[in-house]
């Protein structure tokens, strides 16, 4: 895979990969940016969230599970000292759908976390997850 970044002045950049979609990146005003785009570390988490979410949709679709909505809340802890890497990341999956099977949802998340998700496998943080179906919280688990 190849991607490319170009400096656009101050702390702003444009990034583009093989998909051709340009993503603007910027720092906060407090560190000299103009907040014209998301922060780099947000993009890392978006990549993680997008990766596992695509897995979940794909797996539950193959299982013919009636998922209607999916949200993922990600909470990441970072080391206090430089380079302030991600140390712990928790993913909370919120699904709705009439008749969604708890075991199949759990299996889909497990398959993503342990077999398919390229982004989670590329990070050195400790990953944990929980999920809820139709507003009922089910599980907290190490990934």
């Amino acid at each position: 895979m190849r991607t490319h970044l170009q400096w656009k002045g101050q702390m702003a950049f444009e990034a583009v990969g093989e998909s051709g979609h340009v993503v603007r990146i910027d720092a906060a005003e407090s560190v000299g940016g103009t907040n014209s785009g998301p922060r780099p570390m947000e993009l890392v988490l978006h990549g993680l969230g997008g990766c596992t979410s695509i897995d979940i949709v794909s797996i539950l679709n193959k299982m013919r599970e009636p998922m209607e909505t999916l949200h993922v809340d990600i909470e990441a802890e970072r080391a206090e000292d430089h380079p302030k890497r991600f140390t712990k990341i928790h993913l909370h999956y919120r699904l709705t759908g009439d008749g969604l099977d708890e075991k199949k949802v759990h299996r889909a998340i497990e398959l993503s976390m342990h077999k398919y998700c390229s982004a989670s496998a590329s990070l050195n943080a400790e990953l944990t997850y929980s999920f809820e179906i139709n507003g009922e919280k089910i599980l907290n688990q190490n990934a």
Copy 2:
């Protein structure tokens, strides 16, 4: 840090972090997406590139180095088997600027790679880098 993803149908998602900027994510048509946004693994690399680029701009600015343009080319290798994690990532920094000091540029990249860049420190891939100043290639090095 907190981020949030919402499924937008098929393989498309919208992600938003604390900066408030919404990032659309989508899979390729070949795997059931509509290519309405970048791939998740592109975003991970964009985060890496943005992180180290902001470092470079910030450090060279403090050093009063006359950088005029900055491009970063990222090439990532992935494992063949699932979960196809990033195994090796090479960053090639291309800078221009009349009178840019090679040693200071090298020092800025080293500081980013070894001290400041949160994204590179959060990835488990082997990182290497090279750079060129005004079209002259200088160095290949493990990060």
